[in-house]
Symmetry: C2
Subunit: 411 residues, 2 copies
């Protein structure tokens, strides 16, 4: 049985309000993949020719839904996106892929679409038979549009403790453009591994090539900069799709088109908010940890070090214990094998400089740091003082609750 958890202590105080996107219809279903109390399938239907861009997990054991999408992506058009929670459709053999064919046939008939322009995303348990019939039965019964897009964010949750969504409006060529993104974080069903899915919708017409370039740029600075437990999912995917409803006189012809400058900022805000929401709901998280690596030799080095700290169990457990054990940061930097100038390195907890000149800063008051670490949001700064590159990473602590969640019996 899926366990119920109280809401994450890092959850936003109140739910974001989200807008629907013109030109896209939402349908939500309860296919009883958990129980009758919640929705578990969401379908987005594009009324006109929609554009789509997608990035995939690099896992060599990825879900067959991603094989399907990679093929569909070649059509450069989207007519529907079907998402389910409760089952990852990963390591489900040929039958798993056949389920996609069957479901796409049903949906293309019901909504009069082209089968090959349908996209899928699944999240849930790996290696269990895909509940094709349950999903088909649910979709067949119901064709009532849902105008509350927050319900889509709720339908894709697994063990997420709150739905993750955000909307943003901006102007392009004096036309109001709306962006709505939904995502889900580290989830477990009966129980299961973390799976990250993200869907960002927009109404502005953007050529597919530019959409894909935008997605790549935005993803690198948002979803790819977070970490909960260092375990990469077989199903991770982020989709950026446009209904192309709002058309400009002169089409956007380049990613550097000045007219989309403010749009890029809005999109980044959406991507960055969604990825932060995932960390805020990291399994067992009690603290949001921002790691800033500054003055690295190059950006690869900065990222490597930020990621190494963010993925260190010892570091994350120390932060959970509100323990200023920065020796573990030293360890995490060291295990990247990157050449560091120890005497120039500075480590800050918030504004407190804890290490400098190759040793501890003994002038710092330990009780001040403890007080700082007792907060829900903590910033760690590493100043390498050997170059001009930097990288940020967002992560959460490693707590007893993480073990509770992930040590539960499968059934």
């Amino acid at each position: 049985m899926r366990q119920k958890y109280r809401i994450s202590p890092l959850a936003p105080k109140k739910e974001n309000k989200v807008s629907s996107i013109q030109g896209i219809e939402l349908y939500t279903y309860c296919a009883n993949l958990y129980d009758k109390s919640r929705n578990d399938v969401a379908i987005f239907i594009f009324k006109e020719k929609g554009s789509i861009a997608e990035v995939f997990t690099q896992s060599s054991m990825r879900s067959c839904t991603l094989d399907w999408n990679e093929k569909a992506l070649k059509k450069k058009e989207v007519q529907a996106i079907i998402i389910n929670s409760g089952n990852a459709n990963t390591f489900t053999g040929k039958k798993g892929y056949q389920s996609l064919i069957k479901i796409s046939e049903l949906v293309s008939n019901m909504f009069n679409l082209s089968k090959s322009k349908i996209f899928f995303a699944s999240t849930g348990v790996i290696g269990e038979e895909f509940p094709e019939q349950k999903i088909i039965n649910a979709i067949r019964k119901n064709k009532v549009k849902n105008n509350n897009w927050m319900d889509a964010a709720k339908a894709i949750m697994t063990t997420d403790t709150f739905p993750k969504a955000i909307s943003s409006k901006t102007k392009v060529d004096n036309k109001v453009v709306t962006i709505t993104g939904i995502t889900k974080g580290s989830g477990m069903i009966e129980p299961n591994m973390a799976t990250m899915l993200g869907f960002i919708f927009i109404d502005l017409e953007i050529p597919q090539k530019i959409l894909q370039a935008l997605l790549k740029q935005l993803n690198a600075k948002s979803f790819n900069r977070i970490s909960v437990d260092g375990d990469e999912s077989t199903n991770d995917t982020v989709i950026l799709a446009s209904s192309n409803k709002i058309k400009l006189k002169n089409k956007i012809n380049s990613i550097n088109d000045k007219r989309i400058n403010s749009l890029k900022i809005s999109l980044y805000k959406v991507f960055s908010s969604l990825s932060e929401q995932i960390v805020r709901d990291g399994e067992g998280a009690t603290k949001l940890i921002k790691i800033k690596v500054k003055k690295a030799k190059n950006s690869l080095q900065a990222e490597k070090i930020a990621r190494s700290i963010a993925n260190s169990n010892l570091f994350k457990t120390a932060i959970y214990g509100e323990d200023a054990n920065w020796g573990r940061i030293i360890m995490a930097i060291g295990k990247t094998y990157e050449k560091i100038n120890q005497s120039k390195l500075k480590i800050y907890f918030g504004n407190y400089l804890v290490a400098m000149n190759g040793k501890a800063n003994t002038k710092i008051n330990n009780s001040d740091i403890k007080k700082y670490l007792s907060q829900k949001e903590v910033e760690i700064q590493i100043d390498l003082a050997i170059g001009n590159s930097h990288a940020d990473t967002l992560t959460c602590d490693l707590s007893h609750k993480y073990i509770d969640i992930n040590a539960s019996y499968k059934s």
Copy 2:
């Protein structure tokens, strides 16, 4: 304050008996680095010209003791090894290195040795001032030989819950040769990160070059094949040293010298036992997990996959919960990005084949697997069926106790 823990549930039923090595004298001290109740410094003195081989952590933030040793190693001779627990002498600035000079001066005067042929090893908290004076005071007061080498294993413990040592005897050219090894595992003081130290002593005369080659081979198959939490220490080191007391008529002239065949087997047993003892005392460990990857394309692939599974928090937490969630093994294989033939892959929990033909083996009885996983020692086998290479890894589970141990306050 250092916390007291009960002994690991995976500890050996009774302490191994260990032999001293002729030609090497042991001195143990209480420098009060924890409290007056335990020893925390051990010195091995080589009565004749001793040979030494050493492998080091690859960390770029390693302890200054390893900088010292790397230099000393060039002399190809050892006269003393000084080991302390309680402080890692890492990120301790110039003062940390100066402490080594002072201590080596004291020890070389007391025992009439050459300063440059002294080796150091430290384990404990990072970034705290090295307690040079306490150590000097302790050594100065006491020059009584200790014949119980198990006391050396005890003196180098940090949060280890049992001392780790083993002896083995074998014959080379009809002469009885003795090997004694001591090691320490994942430790924490007030609290601190894991540090692995290993010291293996032998009385047979072996040229330094061959000793170093032997150490490299043995280390690759033992200490380098274990993992507790994937965090590599700044102080990891393994030393293989000989008193050269037992001399053969014709010196050993190659690592392939047939006369040392049985010695190699004995050495491997010692290395392998010591590294298994570390995992058995992994922080919070409740289960010993052996991961066997078979029929990989090449040994690099086999090792990569074995290590990825061994370091996956989700996998380790599942085993702690006795949960047959092999989907997490699929995930851990996938995140290596290695190309796998999903339909050929087989996964076994003990003798139970849980996944095959690209999907779950539904014939398996879940309660049988649960019973299997309730044991203290668990074997996971991954048959990739794409080549002839294999790799084994030893790890432990990730438990609530790991969080307890590592979330404690530093002071």
